[in-house]
Symmetry: D2
Subunit: 449 residues, 4 copies
């Protein structure tokens, strides 16, 4: 079969490719078969020798994923040919006991939980790294004044530390969300219709052992057509991707040449262009943004699949499997890449200051307006400042001061020094410092595993 | 302006239309302005008289939503014209202090949280009703044997109680999910760029009072461009809609004339057709399914909006507002309608039994196969049963017994009585009873508010 | 019932609200009933007097949409109560003949086509206006040099006319797409299961007359569960919204204060902020972008609904109805608003020139690199220019010239005058002019209706 | 790098995997480079020897996709490392001329068009096969009466030929849609910002030759950020997938054991279950439905990307590339599998007839009601029939006849023979035959390539 390695690596890491690749899935499926056989042996349903034989053969290296994938077409899933191959391997003593009492979905759902559990460990680590990076920026740039922008327009002065604090809280929220979703992953064992009929009265006991052996929580009941947990996981992963795209997207906007307030980390071959020698492209942000667009698009596959028919859905469940691989890769890739960006971010504080200076009139307009309001009335003050802003040649401090003083109503109540003081951004940062403190405390309180 | 009342009521309740309609939104916006003025008065930033004047005027009946909506076009949101109108009302003493230090998004985000908090109370109640309905069915039909169907084909016998127990766990999971999402709703107050600059050093104090007065939790920091909480809420609501569609979709499938195992509750005008006098349509399921399709489609609006630019997004945030109204209506409507369906469900146990009888051969094939495996080997047993199933004229017990006995390999190891016993569905229900017990216990443990 | 007028107007026009509102839908449903009765009278299936009586009563002013919407819940659609009301109105002679042989979906699908046909006339007109606006900009700014930006970074010089020509082609493509989709709208008449059984042998004749009377094409066969035409329409409308968001999004990016290359049209109350007196917000772009996000999210409702079950889908079809209203409003609103933006756009050519000047070194790097390649080899030339770009204090022409000349390898093959000539953006615009000509010709060839 | 072959084959064909795999993409990229070099040589911009050297090396077997994919991370796309590798291969004479004047997106967009053009040839062939299969069923089963079902409930009798005719029209619509979309695929060549600045005045000439050599239409202007054509293609492909899911979904519903009206084609290993020996699963429908769910989910990636920023989007365009591969595979796989299902479909006409018989009372209720209306009035007739339907023990002809005759109002105007005649489904098929004729004619008119 042809390979698919040309685009996939761009939006994820090698570790995630590996932990969600064919080999990882096959091993997770085999792990489930092992746990099943052992749990049934413990319950006395399967001979210990058979269970041992099965366990000995359940190594992914003994199976060819390409063959399994091709053979999967006939029955719609790769468990059927895998069980056939495994049965041949362990024959004669183990053969009859392979997959005893289970259904394909038991094995694939459990494998999906194992793959997700293993891959999210990587994502959790990258999110922690991303949070630490934001935390450092929040503290380091606590006093780095810059333009706060709303609807892409200058609004008020903020600090870069305050911005990073906002990122930090968003990332920490994602960490809680992902932790909750991961804690809800559960083993799946129900047999053909969820009743574990083939196991007689030992069903619940076997299911409990099976989950314990796999290191997965036991669900209240089998969840073949109760897909709340995969939907929740998908939501958490899409939130991670979106949050990474928020942070890296801010970086791309601030990296615009006319702003030049930050740069993605440089390095050999990073962000180059095939034609333009000078370009320093926000390639990290491009890749994260692209991953996020694709991750968010996968949500309906999971949430639409919650409406699964009767005891096993026709098409909703199979659509989840490949989509889960994609989502883990995209969200994890977005988190890792954004952590790289934040950790290595170049912050151009001087450019930030220069951008503040040249739009001081705009940035401080609210303050000027509020200061004039008691004298002129709120509405007149608002209009006065807006008019002066339009009349000032530029938005610089001097031009704005001059334009305001040219209005007799202003000149009657304020001196040039008063206005200049009002135009100081450093003294109009509100409670930015407190927000930074709160964000950092929230981060520190995130429980270690 | 023209009305939009022709389709909206079909997929929601009057209570939800009301609690998310114009009047509800305007009142929530006004409640936010009142809380702001009072919090600022407490902090000594605004005269108490002004705060009182503002509070006195903040009644939605004094504002015309149609006019506000039209005027909203100029600035992109209805807060601007509402503040203008309110300022005129409370002039001269209150005027300058209306909306002091806040930005439009503060008011709209907080209003969205209030609307969501109020509307989700209705949804929470309907989910409780739905869960109780499932719980009753699970107990009542603990022994009602029916066909379990996977990929829309008969698989194994289950009980209707077991099926309802699966619904119950799914609904209970949604209740937890929605409760978590609602507990994360938080007041929004940050001013133009999130720093509360206009409030000087009293920003955090005012923000705390504001949240307290509104009965909303205080966020770690303002969240103008940290949309994790609205995404999480959207996810929970879409999960509710999807779960409702799962339950009602099962009902629609079981209601097919050839199955006739359940019926949606009857009543005058319920489920009729404009042409066909005889039809008993699964109209509830149709409406719930339709609501769920639309609810799931709204997810990308919220999760895509997590990548919000800088200190206020250009287009992502405004897209959330109308979508939230839709999502609350659709998800809540789906929950309410499904609760109605479950509470009034007609269960046709005799038809269930008849359907089991006529496919007993199929349903018990796994059991027959497992019973023959020790004698014939697993693979041969599997083939033997499959061949007999194909050969039997129908899937009924008698035909299946005869077809099996016609195979000498079977006849050599089993009698007709053995086979008939194996074909008893009541003794092949596995641990259905335990699952029902566990589901009901999980339901009972759901904490009251 | 509560109104919903607070947010809806922000993203659409009054004309679109009206042409897709309750009254418009009810009238379109009634128009379908009239056409049905008349076509059946022509075929001799219904008495002419009955047909006349029905036609006389089919005025939307005689029906209350709020009542119909409420009553629609019982059967899942408003045709059932409307037919009941109409039957009472025309009793006794007309009563038995109302809705003869039709099914609710016949009337609603046909009404949807009429509503879409009428609403798209408005959209078509706004797209024509938008195309004309782009065409004017393309010609007027044929020589207005500006920075071309890729990945939000300066790439090469372009002209604003070239940019507008790109918009023009995109808008023209949308006009073709929408025209094709609209030409595929077709009348729907099939009766309860598509066979027109109640009309005996006159079914095809009645269906043909019905379509003719309504001014709609006749489909090959009834399309109750063949939803290709609504999916195609949804695709065209989402493309319109996306294209509008492309154009207005470019405007918002160029409007950033640090670029200030264009401004959305000004006007009283346009683009103001509730707090910041100075802000000139890209409100048009915000509203268009928000509409596009919501429009695109609706696609899965239509394309997912293509998989409609058997002879009438359970939940896919009903989900289309409200979504069509939304999509027409959002796409049409986006087109209209973008036409306003383009028609009134303020182009700040001097700022464009200044932005070119200050990044000339970057913009002309490709040209410098290509010019040096024959002398230094391609890879060395690329590196040489990149190094000079990094070393130059700014990207201005003088700094770049100096930095390059400081490299002996460059100085050996080029004079300062050579370099300055290479740094002229006006002479490095490639075939921009030809593209403009081709775009304008493509626009002029678009056929008038 | 790990492989991804475990799930991908399930929802597509080997031919599509191959024609959209790494090798196919790399060759398409190289084909674009060849066409570029040759077109530039024709225009005298590049030495013919260089062009020949480049052409000689542009064989995908000389490149390692896995290496290219890994190296693609640095710059966000695989063209950069591919151009570097190619430059080394053709050095010294060809090196400087590789990729002359082009940008990465030129090569990737053109490659995407080539990949799409080649892959859609396969899809077009499978759609033709699917249409022929539907055509055959329509004619063969012109008189095969079956239950028409709306909202999953029996509505009126139809024929299986009529149903297949509906499928046929839907598939033919898709063929037109896909043909239109494919005809709009166009070469991409604009250079770094769309102006072809590096090619001086020969830009349009080179672009024309480039397109001609590739066998692709020339666009009006470069379309780096005018994504209407990829959105249109995505729409057509999603429509194909949805239509396949409609057809195969109908099959799955009719295959339900209690209906047993059709079966997917049988064969060794087709539709088996890992546990249940007897199951004949609608595996084709499961796989097609799963493919369609994922295909539809990809639409927002394309339509959302229409809003591409300035001269090259940051993240929208890269998200298209991998998604296009997916969409071609999923839609093409759905079409191929559905063609298999339709070609090999087993139609159980006897079961169809039996199902009609046992619900004759229901199916003919409209006819009974219309027949009674002149005597009893429409509303009373409707009620009378509904009441009789409820009272009849079953819906069989005899029970229904008896129940109706038990009502004196009916007995007064109709004999048992009258009622039995009205209960004949064969005489209540309306214009099914005409629809079949029209559908088949529409199919025959589809132009051969």
């Amino acid at each position: 079969l042809p390979t698919d390695s040309l685009f996939a690596p761009i939006t994820t890491t090698d570790e995630l490719l590996e932990s969600t690749g064919d080999r990882a899935w096959v091993q997770a499926m085999l792990d489930s078969e092992v746990a099943l056989a052992r749990a049934e042996a413990e319950a006395g349903l399967v001979p210990v020798a058979a269970s041992d034989a099965i366990s000995a053969c359940c190594q992914s290296s003994r199976f060819d994923p390409v063959e399994l994938g091709r053979a999967a077409r006939a029955g719609g899933n790769p468990v059927i040919p895998m069980v056939q191959a495994l049965t041949s391997m362990v024959a004669p003593e183990g053969g009859p006991w392979v997959h005893w009492g289970a259904t394909s979905q038991d094995i694939l759902d459990t494998a999906a939980m194992l793959v997700a559990q293993r891959a999210t460990k990587l994502i959790v680590a990258d999110l922690a790294r991303l949070a630490d990076g934001c935390d450092t920026l929040a503290e380091t740039h606590r006093r780095t004044v810059m333009v706060g922008r709303t609807l892409l327009q200058p609004a008020l002065p903020i600090t870069f530390g305050f911005k990073a604090a906002g990122w930090l809280v968003a990332v920490t929220d994602c960490r809680y969300e992902l932790r909750n979703a991961v804690s809800g992953l559960a083993a799946q064992l129900g047999g053909a219709a969820g009743t574990l009929a083939a196991l007689g009265e030992r069903g619940t006991e076997v299911a409990a052992t099976y989950a314990r052996l796999l290191g997965l929580p036991e669900p209240v009941v089998p969840w073949h057509t109760a897909r709340q947990r995969t939907a929740r996981l998908a939501g958490a992963l899409a939130m991670v991707a979106g949050t990474a795209a928020k942070v890296s997207g801010d970086v791309a906007l601030l990296m615009q040449a006319e702003l030049s307030e930050v740069s993605e980390p440089a390095g050999p071959g990073r962000g180059g262009s095939s034609t333009l020698p000078h370009k320093r492209n926000p390639i990290g942000a491009a890749e994260v943004g692209s991953a996020a667009r694709r991750a968010v698009a996968l949500l309906p596959v999971f949430f639409g699949g919650v409406a699964a028919e009767l005891e096993r859905s026709l098409s909703a469940w199979p659509a989840e499997l490949h989509s889960l691989t994609e989502l883990l890769r995209l969200s994890g890739g977005a988190a890792a890449r954004t952590a790289d960006i934040v950790e290595g971010l170049e912050v151009h504080a001087a450019n930030m200051a220069a951008n503040v200076d040249r739009s001081a009139g705009s940035l401080m307009a609210e303050r000027l307006s509020l200061a004039l309001a008691p004298h002129l009335g709120r509405s007149t003050a608002h209009e006065t400042v807006a008019t002066a802003a339009r009349r000032a040649g530029s938005g610089s401090r001097e031009d704005t001061t001059a334009a305001l003083l040219a209005d007799p109503a202003v000149a009657g109540v304020m001196s040039a020094a008063d206005i200049r003081a009002l135009l100081e951004p450093e003294s109009y940062l509100g409670v930015s410092d407190s927000w930074i403190d709160r964000a950092r405390a929230y981060h520190r309180q995130f429980p270690a595993l």
